[in-house]
Symmetry: C2
């Protein structure tokens, strides 16, 4: 059902020197599917991450935070699908640490140099024995050219693996950026069980990498939403192996940093949009622009107010220009002293609302026409200030209910 989203062509997904990927069938939840992925990083790689804001952060998220804080160079990432290891208390932390220890032994590093990730069902104990048993297979399959297979191994209800690459030249050095992501529901990353890993072979100083991971998340994954729910396991990790041989990027405002950031943002936005395109039950891909807000918070509130409204999302599914629901969603965003008489709203190129009411030029058949395509753009002009934002989402279909009513069966 994914909207204009096609499986990545392996030839277009470029390897990143210093990153190897392997996988195995651990049988964590279902038999005969790859559900365990190992990423081995070359010595000298730098890693930074941002994680879920859900109060019930899963055990692996807690362990990731500890291991990143401890400052040891990260040498491996291990991801399992099928079980989130969340709501599992002290035994969940133990299970995540056992996973790290098993990886550490196989790749010859300390357990604190391994980051663990889990995605799947919440509140059930992680079958760590099966993970330990399957990890050697992950190691034997390690290779630099296996990004798309790795993207498949971390999927849950995703219908399409998600991967993207860019290449650029900085001061004569060729730099590669490649990322993979999973996540199609429980999805308003802030972060949501979205897992994303983007790696580059550029050399980047740790403080710059730390800032970059946040800035990139803000303009990509934090702008996509499927159902407004935020997962307990969301993680976005940015990796710089330094293998390209460029001069270390130590200043965020340097030309090299600006160029590289642009490429990373492109990869991140392509992956973020892929998540909405593959949103559970999605039949439409929706882009929501909000302009003229007084500040970033209110721009996001209005955009997400529209993106989260079940009534708007079901009307988009039906291609029904029941556009009063957009007006309702904007009015529901909780903006203090919102002067509705200043609001303009456009659907594609058609103005629907002029100065807070139905535009006199608006015709129902124009609304019906712009609601038909698989890709719809909604633009709101608030005329309160100069801040704008963009959010990506999908519609709300029978299929969403079906997928989530039957997820565990």
């Amino acid at each position: 059902m994914a909207v204009n989203l096609f499986p990545p062509v392996a030839a277009n997904i470029l390897p990143v020197s210093g990153v190897e990927l392997g996988f195995a069938e651990a049988g964590i939840r279902k038999a005969n599917r790859r559900d365990l992925m190992l990423m081995r990083l070359a010595p000298g790689s730098r890693v930074a991450g941002v994680f879920t804001q859900n109060s019930f952060a899963a055990a692996p998220v807690q362990v990731c935070r500890q291991h990143l804080k401890s400052g040891g160079a990260i040498r491996a990432l291990v991801v399992n699908a099928g079980n989130a290891n969340c709501g599992t208390g002290e035994s969940g932390l133990t299970a995540s640490r056992r996973t790290c220890a098993a990886v550490a032994q196989l790749v010859s590093c300390a357990p604190e140099q391994v980051l663990p990730f889990s995605t799947g069902v919440i509140l059930e104990p992680l079958p760590v024995d099966r993970i330990e048993a399957a990890l050697p297979n992950c190691v034997t399959t390690l290779g630099e050219n296996r990004w798309t297979e790795a993207a498949s191994a971390i999927m849950t209800t995703d219908t399409v693996p998600k991967a993207a690459s860019r290449q650029l030249t900085i001061n004569g050095t060729k730099i590669t950026v490649t990322g993979i992501a999973k996540g199609v529901g429980m999805l308003q990353p802030n972060m949501a069980t979205m897992l994303t890993y983007i790696a580059t072979d550029a050399s980047i100083a740790q403080p710059v990498l730390q800032t970059l991971v946040k800035q990139v998340a803000d303009v990509s994954f934090n702008r996509v939403t499927v159902d407004g729910d935020t997962s307990t396991n969301d993680s976005f990790v940015l990796i710089a192996t330094g293998k390209a041989g460029n001069a270390e990027i130590a200043d965020l405002n340097s030309a090299a940093a600006v160029l590289l950031k642009a490429a990373i943002v492109e990869v991140a936005q392509e992956l973020a949009q892929a998540i909405a395109r593959d949103g559970e039950g999605a039949t439409k891909f929706i882009t929501i622009h909000v302009n003229g807000a007084a500040n970033h918070d209110e721009a996001v509130r209005v955009a997400k107010g529209i993106a989260h409204s079940p009534l708007v999302k079901t009307a988009l599914f039906a291609s029904d220009p029941n556009l009063g629901r957009l007006l309702m969603a904007i009015g529901n965003a909780g903006i203090a002293n919102l002067d509705t008489r200043l609001i303009q709203l456009y659907l594609g190129g058609v103005q629907v609302i002029a100065n807070g009411e139905r535009a006199s030029s608006y015709k129902e058949e124009d609304g019906a026409r712009v609601m038909k395509p698989e890709e719809i753009t909604i633009r709101v002009e608030l005329d309160r200030g100069n801040v704008g934002t963009t959010v990506w989402t999908c519609d709300f279909s029978y299929e969403y209910v079906k997928i989530n009513a039957e997820y565990r069966t």
Copy 2:
């Protein structure tokens, strides 16, 4: 599909002396259905109301606020279904005022003594000519014993008319309280297009009535949610005709006020619960208790966090004890410094989460058993303070999507 909700038996819905109800087929949106309701109040009646917090308050809501503020004694209420008269700008205000003027002429009062209400599609002009043409029929049908028919005339996607009555004796005087409500979607009253009218024949001083309407809304309509969307037209009006002959209730803390408030709250809660039972596509009625919050705001955030989560609602629909989603929703409520290790969660009588993780006593078959019934109670203990709240909602089914994808067709 309404959950354990049956059409009110007219004999159980008691007339309120001083309130007459009439209706007509105005053909506002569809032909051959009653879609216009008139309520005529005896001289001396007092009226107070609370209205939507949506920034796009509909024209009738704006006119209601003005007429209530102007202080003239309200003598009539007029309600149309099929068109919300919202996003209609100055011409919408004119249409609402024209409706009031037409009613005023028929019941011999000033236009400012009439309150208008509309519910239905947003962004379309109100066919006020048809309303004016049908109003005389409303007048000829006026009668004190027509509450259930009035409840039918204001329905939109409701499947069952909603009415409730209570009788009590205050200092030897028999007092009646009767109410009707409509609303099944775009529904998180604050207020949501919920329309509710509760009348009593008690004599109540205006300041007491004003306070009562807010207090009653807080423990009834503001605690029910179907989809988290808040309508542009929500209104709850409380009417006291004074016809019972009791001594005027002028002190909110008097025994008479406490007794009467309890009866009004009972009627309001029955109607609020009826709204969730008849929630669009509802197959289950869900009661969510949150206890041990530090303050009212966080109790409501946690309860509505659960009530609004599409993932929780689809799991409830499927009777699937995928209870990690409850944990996710609690963690997603945005409570600062929430110590998840203090949290207990019960589904019916079964403890699912103990101290923030899966209870060791919890068995999947127990979860499956308590997820089966049509009425499910979720209880969360936060152990942060002494404040609690209760919220009512329904599940999220294929039918919700169907109803809202096809609403206008």
